[in-house]
Each structure stands twice: as C-alpha cells, then as structure tokens.
C-alpha cells in the first residue's frame, strides 16, 4: 500500500499572534467585551485571544463609520474609491499564503481549499467590485445611484475571509462604510483583512471590524444609525434579524440556509456526477449553505451511482487541515460536531441506512467521517434540516416531475444541481428549480460576476454581479 507521507503547510506562515484586537476608526484597539479564545478545531488548542466589542464599542464603530461616510467615503469620486479597493485585492493576493494558512488554522478547512478557493476568490471579489465603483451609473439602477450610508454586516464561520470579502467589497464600491462582525469562532482572517485595509491606507472608519458573539451582531444590526444590514448565516437567526428590523427602514439582505437537491438523471455523466456530488456535500466539511445535501438519483442508475459514490468517498482523506493532501478538515466547533452527531443519530433512528467511510480520524480535534444515508424519505429530519456537515442524504425518483417536486419540497431555495447530458432537460429542470443558483453538470462554483442568493427561506437579495449592487444602493 502506498501511504502518502504527511505534507503539512508550515503554520509559521500564518504569523499567528497571541492577541488580536478589534479594528475601529483605522486603529486596532482593545474592546470592552469579554475577550474570546479562538480555537484550532483541528487540534483543540487555543490559537489566540481576541478582544471583543461591547455595546459602547459598537456605537463608537458606527459613529466612526458615519463620520467616514459623511466626510470622506460617501462623497469620494468612484474612481478614487476604486483604487483603494483594487489595492485591497492586490494586498490579499500578496498575503495569500499567510491568509490561507491562518484560515485553515482558525476554521479547520483543508489548506487546499483555503489556498485554492477561499483566498483567491476573496481577492477576486475586491478586484471585481473595485471596477464597479466608478461605473455604478451603468448598473441599470438609475443614472446616479446613491449609497445607503453605514452598512452593518454579520458573517458566518464557514468562509470567514471570503464572506468578509463578499460583504465589504460591494459595500465599499457603492460608497458605503462598514461595520462588520466576524463569527465568534473564526475572527482571525477578518482582522488580518483589517491590517490589509490599513496597509491599503483606507481612510479611518471606512471599515470597522468588531469580533464578538451574537450579542455584538445584534447590537450592530440594531444600531439606529446603521442604514443597511447584510447577514449571512442560519435561517433561524435571519428570521430574528428580519423580525428585529421590522419597521426600522433599513435595507436588508439575508443569505441563509439551504437544503439543496442534487438531481442525477439516468443519462448523467456518472463519473463527473460522482465528483459533483462529492464536491457538493464534502467541500468545506459540508459547512456550506448551498451544499448539495440531498442527492436525488433516478432509480435506474441508483445502485450503480451509489456504489461508485461509496468507492470515491472512501478515498477522501480526513485529517490535519494544514496537510496539503487533506480533503476534509475539521468540523469548525464542538457545538457543530454535536449537532452533526445529533442529526445523524436521528437519521439512523428514523430508519435511513447509514454508510460511513472507514477513513481514520485524528485523535484530537473535531472530526466527522464522510457519511452517506440511503433509503432516505422526505419526511426524515436528515432530508429536511440543514445538517451543515459531511453528511449526504440519498433519495430516489422515477420521473423528472417527481425529481422536481421532491427537489422543491423544502422551505429553502438556495441552490440545486442537475446532472444529465440532455440539453433540453437541463434547461427544463433549471427553470423548474426554485433556487437562486442552479449548477448543471457541475456544483459549488462561485464567481464575483455571478449573483448568489436564495429563494424563500434561504434569504433575499443577491451577492455578486450587477444584481448584487442593488443591495448597497439607494434604489
């Protein structure tokens, strides 16, 4: 047997510091909140202590953002804003390796993903939106679209740097200033992004980054002087935010959960479908709102496909996030791991057939072996609830209409996958899917030029593309 020797990326590259502070009005300052300890989910060791914001800090940050908006950023010509944003894109590229290693340390995602997806895509988002800053009049939203003011943004832990980029880049391009709260368990790369913003010499207060838990997020979105709220996270919290902001006249965009169906028709390119299914549910440990967590496979190819899938999943390497050969890293937190255990237990209890890869797992850290449930019915929790982990639920169908009906049978509507070699069927199914993103013969593709966002309880508003600008303009 050929065992791959460990090939770890050096953690020194992350320039990890013992302490991180919040970023307000262009300065790194101590926060008034209880400091948090951020943990490496791959080893359970504490990585660093991070200061968190108090309510007063939130107020200070919003005031700084308001000042920056009124005095500098809101009135700066777009062409000048653009150059600042281009600088950020370049600085991210220059510090890409550092950011990638730090992201994998703090989040647990495999280095190959932070290196090949998260960090380059984050840079791409700044690069793309920088170009918009002086071209907003061409966005089809009126001759002189105006910014909204101060944007309060709350992001999740699954793509810490990338989500920060998705939020900050369009906000700045449209002329808004930002108060952003990174997730409690993954604050580090956002704070290095703050360093980058400092290096890019952005005027103080244009971007403020406040680590903390949900209470800080709530204070940010509820602050009376915030004009725009953008949230990515669970549908549960999204609903709370929408409820809290009722009547507040703040523009809201929500990017929430999902339970995407990946539909495999009998004429699919099966080997690539297997890759797409694997990518769809095991990419980023399944911590992806648009993950293809429900596989709908046509009965006539179900056995063959499932066999191929199990063989393929057995080759997935679970372990040290910093190892370049790791396919599935660590689950982000003990809480999330417990949730995955709880839901998979419910799958077994409800009678689904569980198959789990026999891959070895490290002794320390939060890990979960890739798992495939077959004989799943729509009524089971694992077919309805977002697991947000490396767990796939397999259902079958007989006819295209049945596939569509099952795929759409969810309050969510973020993404969907379609696998078939028949062109007209692709377009038919894509049209029928009640989902904001439809991947046909591919899955989990992201690009700053392509709008992303959900139908129904997966949220509203789009990120990326011309459509995404609307969220940050008074139109």
């Amino acid at each position: 047997m050929w065992e791959y020797a460990p090939a770890p990326e050096s953690r020194d590259i992350a320039n990890l510091k013992p302490n991180y502070r919040m970023f307000v009005d262009g300065q790194f300052v101590e926060g008034g909140g209880e400091p948090l300890k951020t943990v490496n989910p791959g080893t359970e060791e504490v990585l660093a202590e991070v200061s968190t914001a108090s309510t007063a800090d939130v107020d200070k940050a919003v005031k700084a953002a308001r000042r920056a908006y009124d005095r500098v950023w809101g009135r700066m010509p777009g062409a000048e804003r653009a150059k600042y944003i281009f600088r950020i894109a370049r600085l991210i590229q220059e510090r890409a390796r550092e950011l990638a290693v730090l992201e994998s340390l703090d989040n647990g995602k495999p280095i190959k993903e932070s290196r090949d997806v998260d960090v380059p895509t984050a840079a791409a988002h700044f690069f793309y939106h920088a170009g918009w800053a002086d071209k907003l009049a061409y966005a089809g939203l009126g001759p002189d679209p105006r910014p909204l003011g101060v944007a309060g943004q709350v992001i999740p832990w699954n793509f810490p740097l990338l989500m920060a980029a998705w939020k900050i880049a369009p906000a700045l391009a449209c002329g808004n200033t930002v108060v952003l709260k990174p997730a409690e368990t993954t604050p580090l790369t956002a704070l290095v992004l703050a360093e980058i913003i400092q290096q890019a010499d952005l005027p103080p207060g244009v971007v403020n980054i406040l680590p903390g838990a949900g209470d800080v997020g709530a204070a940010v979105v509820n602050h009376p002087d915030v004009n725009k709220v953008a949230f990515t996270g669970s549908t549960e919290v999204g609903k709370i935010i929408q409820r809290q902001l009722a009547g507040a006249n703040k523009k809201i965009t929500l990017e929430l959960g999902g339970k995407a169906a990946n539909i495999v028709f009998d004429d699919a390119p099966l080997d690539q479908a297997v890759e797409g299914i694997v990518n769809g549910i095991f990419f980023n440990q399944g911590h992806v709102c648009c993950a293809g967590s429900r596989l709908l496979v046509q009965e006539s190819v179900a056995d063959e496909l499932l066999e191929k899938l199990r063989v393929r999943v057995s080759t997935l390497r679970v372990g040290d996030p910093l190892d370049k050969n790791t396919d599935i890293g660590a689950i982000n937190s003990r809480e999330q791991l417990a949730k995955i255990h709880e839901l998979t237990a419910s799958g077994e209890a409800e009678g689904a057939e569980r198959w789990t890869s026999a891959c070895p797992l490290p002794d320390k850290g939060f890990y979960f072996a890739p798992t495939v449930f077959s004989n799943v019915s729509q009524a089971m929790r694992i077919a309805r609830e977002e697991i947000f982990g490396p767990v796939l639920s397999v259902l079958t169908f007989r006819t295209p209409d049945e596939a569509v009906a099952k795929a759409n049978n969810t309050p969510y509507g973020l993404s969907a996958g379609i696998w078939t070699e028949k062109g007209s069927r692709i377009l038919w199914a894509a049209q029928k899917m009640r989902a904001g993103v439809v991947w046909a013969n591919t899955f989990n593709r992201f690009d700053p030029t392509a709008p992303f966002g959900g139908y129904q309880e997966s949220g509203f508003g789009r990120e990326g593309g011309r459509t995404g600008l609307e969220a940050y303009l008074d139109v």
Binding site: Q242, R243, G247, V438, R445, Q456
Partner: protein, 287 residues
C-alpha cells in the same frame, strides 16, 4: 315622465376569477369623501384571504410559465378593456377621491397608461435585469429574473385607481400572482378593476381583490406561509412593523414603500425588481 331608476351594482370580492361575497357574510358601507353613501362593499375575512392565496398559488404555475409575449398581450388586453370603461372609472374615482371630473379623468388616463407601460415590460424584464456572467472558468453562467411567487399587495389607501394599478401591474407583469387588499375606504374602483380583469384574458386567480378592513386582513396575509412577498404600501402606519415581523416568519420579501408615494410620478423598475428573484445557472463548456 319620471327619471329612470338606475340599476345599482353589488360590489363583491374577486377570488380565483369569481365574484363571491365574503364567506363571513359581512359588508360595510362605502361613502364618498363627503360622507354620502355610495354602496356596500364586501368585508373580506381571513378565510377570504386564505381562499385568495390558494387561488393565487393555483394560478401561479400557469401565469409564471406563460411566455412573456403572452403575458404582455393579456395585460395589454386589460388596458383595452380599461379604456372602454373609462367613464365609469372617472365617475368612481371622482366619487372615491372627491376630485373634480377633469382631475378624475387625468387620474384614470394615467392609470390606463400606467397599465400599458407595465404590459410592455413583460418581455423586457429578463433582458434588462438578466445577465450573462463572465465567470473565470470554462462555464456559461447566466442569471435570469423569475417571479417571486404569490405577492400580497396592500393597495394605497388614497389613490384608488392610479395607485392601485401602480402597485398591481408590476407584480403581475413580472409573472407573479397577487392577492390585493383594496383601499379600505375607497374600494369601488378596485372592484370595477376586478370586473375588467375578469373580462379580459387574465386567467382567474392571477389577481385576487379583497375589500374590507386592511388591518383585519393584512396580518393573515403577512403571516401566511404560502405568500412569498408583501407590499406594505397601503398598510396602516401603526401596523407596518407588526406586519413586517409576521412576514419574517417565512422570510418574505417586503416592499416598504411609504404610503406617501406619489403615483403621478413616472414609474421606474423598482416595483418589478422588488418582486423578482435572480436565478443564476451554470453549465460547463466542453466537447
């Protein structure tokens, strides 16, 4: 010779293409701005709202799946029939809004023109709001606007026809189906509009019109899980926040236009944008 006694009209609800009375059996008197009795209007209930949502949902696949050209023609046909009833609308708007004939004529003309404007949008929305996305990879990626679904529309309380049409037309032009709560005190032009819709080629259920107490009906629509979006334009001020909170229960899209909106202003695309979803589709490019 004595003056002829006119035939008075019974004003009813418009649900699923039919004109039922309220299931509650209730009606309420509608007066002109000076307090003179005009007619009794049906006082819609939560069950009427429920039926209207069911009708709108049932009509959604057909209406949203029709070609944009077809939707455009159907909506244009509505304008044709509106034009034929111009005088009736002038009288009703005049009575409802307490304006002189000239002003009422101007409002009705603007309303008909507004409908024509939106009718012409059906087959242009995807061109203007859609995109081909130049992604960095061997994929063809495109984004198309799709209707959000069933939209609950709280019509403006003041502008009984122009305002009504300004909020309903964009919803259906985009391919949505609508449950409209008409102006509470000025509902008669809305009911007449229903008759126009029923006698045009608009499929039953695409637009459903409820008359009655906005404050009574709106909460049921805001919390209804099969309603996808909510237009608050005509919501009572005191109720707006509550309705938004209810809407959050199923993450509805909420259009928070203020009731003070000036409907005589040239419209723009914002009301269409408010009720479409962007769907992005990716496919690899290869041999």
């Amino acid at each position: 010779m004595s003056e002829r006694i006119s035939v008075a009209k019974t004003y009813k609800l418009y649900i699923g293409g039919a004109f039922p009375r309220s299931e509650s059996g209730r009606s309420y008197p509608v007066t002109d701005t000076k307090g003179a009795f005009l007619a009794n209007a049906a006082q819609g209930s939560r069950k009427d709202a429920r039926d209207a949502v069911a009708a709108a949902r049932k009509a959604f696949p057909g209406w949203s799946g029709a070609t944009a050209y077809n939707r455009g023609q159907v909506l244009y046909r509505v304008a044709e029939v509106l034009e034929g009833r111009r005088e009736q609308f002038v009288a009703e708007v005049g009575a409802a809004e307490g304006v002189a004939v000239k002003k009422a004529q101007a409002l009705v003309d603007a309303a008909i023109d507004r409908w024509v404007w939106y009718a012409g949008w059906t087959d242009k929305i995807a061109t203007v709001l859609g995109a081909s996305n130049p992604v960095a990879g061997p994929y063809f990626s495109f984004s198309v606007p799709e209707p959000t679904g069933v939209v609950a529309v709280l019509a403006p309380q003041q502008s009984s026809l122009l305002g009504l049409i300004s909020v309903v037309a964009p919803v259906v032009a985009a391919g949505n189906t609508a449950v409209v709560v008409a102006s509470q005190d000025r509902p008669l032009p809305a009911v007449t509009l229903s008759e126009v819709l029923a006698t045009s080629d608009l499929p039953g259920g695409v637009v459903n019109v409820l008359t009655g107490r906005t404050a009574e009906i709106a909460p049921w629509l805001a919390s209804h899980a099969d309603v996808n979006a909510l237009d608050l334009t005509g919501a009572p001020e005191a109720l707006r926040a509550d309705l938004e909170q209810s809407a959050a229960g199923t993450v509805k899209r909420v259009l928070r236009t203020r009731p003070s909106e000036d409907f005589t202003r040239e419209p723009d695309l914002s009301r269409i944008r408010a009720f479409v979803e962007s769907k992005t589709v990716w496919h690899p490019i290869g041999v």
